[in-house]
């Protein structure tokens, strides 16, 4: 991988993160917002992979694997919470849950 490829992939990583962040802010559907969160995480993982490959550090590959595992668990917990919310409020619009205060 050349220096230009590294810069190019880091730019892609930043763009994916920025698109994911803005998607979470501007979309109105809770499921779609959850998918934009995954997009943000994918952008971060891409930068982690690029630096791991650049530096030849095996620990980085292990860290990526652990992040994958945690992401899978995160979605396994987030979706049931979403199901419970929709059973209560009957809507996927986050504005309908503005009364939730923890």
């Amino acid at each position: 991988m050349t220096v230009d490829d590294t810069t190019f992939l880091l730019a892609l990583s930043g763009m994916l993160f920025a698109l994911g962040l803005v998607g979470v802010i501007v979309r109105r559907n809770l499921l779609v917002m959850l998918m934009f969160l995954e997009l943000m995480l994918n952008g971060v993982i891409l930068s982690l992979v690029v630096f791991t490959q650049l530096l030849g550090a095996e620990a980085g590959a292990v860290l990526v694997f652990l992040v994958f595992v945690v992401a899978a668990a995160e979605i396994a917990i987030a979706v049931p919470i979403l199901l419970l919310l929709v059973r209560t409020g009957r809507t996927l619009d986050p504005g309908a849950y503005a009364g939730l205060k923890g």
């Binding site: 994911g20 998918m35 095996e58 595992v69 899978a72 979706v79």
Partner: protein, 182 residues
């Protein structure tokens, strides 16, 4: 320009196209398919970089587990309310302004940054065998800790669902008692 760079650009374009399409598609199922396209393109980029283990994990865990779970949830929650008819929240203009600002800062940082140092990496540094040996020799404790944390999280999620169910049972019993009195 080498053939590897061309492949990288093609897959990067695929990933970016999927991410941008996610903004404009209305139905969550189509958004999920666009995200799957992005994830598969990223897996191809990882494979192109020689990180075959990560590419396999990306397809197995993200596309094979996370997105399948998400698609089940979309099928279960086919709600056609305001979140379906109106794609964007009132924060659309502010969000797009934030996106432009973020992209500007990113491009500026990459253009001004110092070039990355080149390190000689052995060709088999990220093969499955090397990864497995390093993982089992040095990092198995971290994986065990992660597994324990995940178990705790799953138990907590089950507890939340159980509390909710008990609350509904109590409410149903109270309503039944009220009906009997009436």
């Amino acid at each position: 320009m080498t053939i590897e760079t061309v492949f990288l650009m093609v897959f990067a374009l695929g990933a970016l196209t999927g991410a941008v399409a996610m903004f404009f598609l209305r139905h969550p199922m189509r958004v999920a398919l666009a995200l799957i396209g992005t994830m598969v393109s990223l897996a191809a980029i990882y494979a192109q970089l020689g990180m075959h283990v990560i590419a396999v994990f990306q397809v197995l865990i993200y596309v094979g587990a996370v997105m399948v779970f998400m698609i089940y949830a979309i099928m279960l929650l086919d709600v056609r309310d305001r979140s379906f008819t109106e794609r964007f929240s009132p924060l659309l203009v502010a969000g797009l302004a934030g996106l432009l600002l973020l992209l500007g800062v990113l491009i500026d940082g990459l253009l001004r940054g110092q070039p990355f140092p080149a390190v000689d990496v052995p060709p088999d540094a990220f093969s499955v065998g090397t990864f497995a040996i390093v993982f089992m020799e040095q990092f198995w404790v971290y994986f065990a800790l992660t597994a324990v944390l995940l178990l705790v999280a799953e138990i907590a999620a089950s507890a939340v669902i159980d509390i909710r169910r008990r609350g509904q049972d109590v409410a149903a019993a109270q309503a039944e008692r009220g009906n009997d009195r009436g």
